[in-house]
Subunit: 343 residues, 2 copies
């Protein structure tokens, strides 16, 4: 494979000149020379070595995104947003599915640090694991040192999101919407309490209750893993409990989707017997049965802005937290409550 010196030789110039031409450096090169270099590069099918370039510049145009699971539509949409912003800038995107295990997250960040990624985006919520967090913090500091930008899309151990949404207000608005439909007993599938976002969303539930003038009943709150399985399990718990409810809100769509499925199995009609609402508005929410009422998060846009924020950060700006709007979208899974109670 041709290297810069091959091109230089063929064009009859020094490698410095070739470098200046092919890397679009702000340096005057005469048109004739430029053409000769470009010609040589073309005939040799020359492609610059990004590793060599990166070694010199101490970072490489690669953005690493830490997600829980790329298979989760929430994250794939987000990553797609990042990618679409990164590509025009010549950056490649590495996705790291940490499955919410702190050690894997740390190992990914370490790997990203070792290859001098120029951007690190934490899309997943921070975890409460002091020791691992300390290790991650060390890596992040080191990365900043060599010029990497780091942006958070969720609240984390050391602060709030750089680009994100107001989770608390978002969930609250959904609870209020349910209350406005007439529901007075609203259960909540809270997700794992070890996650910062989950906690914010739970806080949103309580705030929504307050805003709607409803009482909090902790028998109506169930914590489970953040996936469909968890939603199904939570329904079992709720139906087995003593507290009646006519609606259930969920901390994310996957939970709500699992709930939908399990409610159908257990013979509860949605929305006739129980209303169900999710959070996130992932693509599949729309095609669920019935289509899921939820709170729309501009995931793709968050991804795009995350990359843009990183660029700004790299150019010296300090980041203002960006809070993007959420919107309640009511579809067929919610309706005014019937007379009876589901529980």
């Amino acid at each position: 494979m041709a290297s810069i010196s091959d091109v230089a030789k063929l064009a009859g110039v020094s490698t410095a000149t070739v470098s200046r031409v092919v890397s679009a450096a702000p340096y005057a090169v005469s048109p004739a020379t430029r053409e000769r270099v470009l010609d040589a590069a073309r005939t040799l099918d020359y492609v610059p070595n990004a590793l060599a370039r990166g070694l010199h510049k101490s970072h490489i145009p690669v953005v690493g995104v830490i997600v829980h699971d790329i298979t989760d539509p929430y994250f794939s949409e987000l990553v797609r947003g990042v990618e679409d912003a990164a590509t025009p800038a010549g950056s490649l995107v590495i996705t790291c599915s940490s499955d919410r295990v702190a050690e894997r997250e740390e190992s990914y960040v370490r790997l990203l640090r070792s290859m001098r990624a120029s951007t690190l985006i934490f899309a997943s919520s921070g975890l409460d694991e002091p020791i691992v967090n300390a290790a991650i913090r060390r890596h992040v500091t080191a990365m900043r040192e060599y010029g990497a930008a780091v942006v958070h899309l969720s609240p984390h151990a050391d602060g709030h999101a750089d680009v994100g949404v107001d989770n608390e207000a978002g969930v609250a608005s959904m609870v209020v919407a349910l209350a406005e439909l007439g529901h007075r007993h609203i259960a909540f599938l809270a997700g794992p309490t070890s996650l910062f976002v989950a906690r914010q969303r739970l806080a949103g539930y309580r705030r929504g209750l307050v805003e709607a003038g409803l009482a909090y009943d902790d028998r109506l709150v169930v914590s489970t893993p953040f996936d469909q399985e968890g939603g199904a399990l939570a329904i079992d718990t709720l139906l087995g409990g003593a507290a009646p409810f006519t609606a259930v809100g969920a901390a994310n769509d996957l939970l709500a989707l699992g709930a939908l499925e399990r409610l159908a199995i257990r013979g509860r009609r949605v929305p006739d017997d129980v209303s169900v609402a999710g959070f996130d508005d992932i693509q599949t929410a729309r095609m669920a049965t019935p289509p899921l009422s939820t709170v729309r998060l501009p995931l793709y846009d968050i991804g795009r802005r995350a990359f843009a924020a990183a660029e700004r950060q790299r150019s010296g700006e300090t980041l203002e937290p960006e809070v993007l709007p959420t919107a309640v979208v009511l579809r067929a899974s919610t309706a005014p409550p019937a007379d009876g109670l589901a529980g």
Copy 2:
């Protein structure tokens, strides 16, 4: 940030020794020295520079996966499989959503080449674009030259898949299954004919028809983009056409999902009026309304094996094509036909 020479200095040894210790080289280093080096590395929080290492080795442990869209569950599952195989080997995964546009694909491959990725996986079907293909072929050749492994998961311009499924047999088996339910007029949503896979699946449709002893009617075949939108459009076309049908098979699940949605809107009950079957068995197929009958592809496994195949290729083995099994899974979207015809 500490470099290898900082560690060497602190440990009182040469960089060669440090390198031999931290890179687990097959070279004897005395236990005492080893400990001193490891200690120094720890206290300096030393992380080797993968770019420098890569520059020397002429490739870096990174696998690039070319997909159509990471947001499409088909690809995210596949990528997840790749990632889970790559991570234990210390490789990072770059996802490239080309949106089926050949130029973007070429540009991604070029980028991957420029950073000397050690593995390139084409997860998306090859496109029929001679000029761009020629460019891609040049990049691939160059990558092989520096030691990269290249594996295809779909048929492409230069041959068949290295790891994949028998698309033709898979679709044929679904058509036969529909015929066994009693359907004699089976429409087919073919996807874009410019895609090799789509063509194979269309061939499977015809073969299934033959196997079931049914006649081919080209009014029952509709080509559209490979997404939900396309499926919906295809239903409009079919319902507007003169040819009656009691079942529709689709070249992938997204198409079938779109069909489901549109059939509901147009007042056709599934499976009472029309049976619908997809292909791929993406995660959302299960949660559709009604749950979608489809052909299961071991996507995650294909991803894992793709990486394994790359490793073998890199170690000199020539690849035997691997054909993984598919399985018809009948859920609630298919049933024996009623008396009347839907069309």
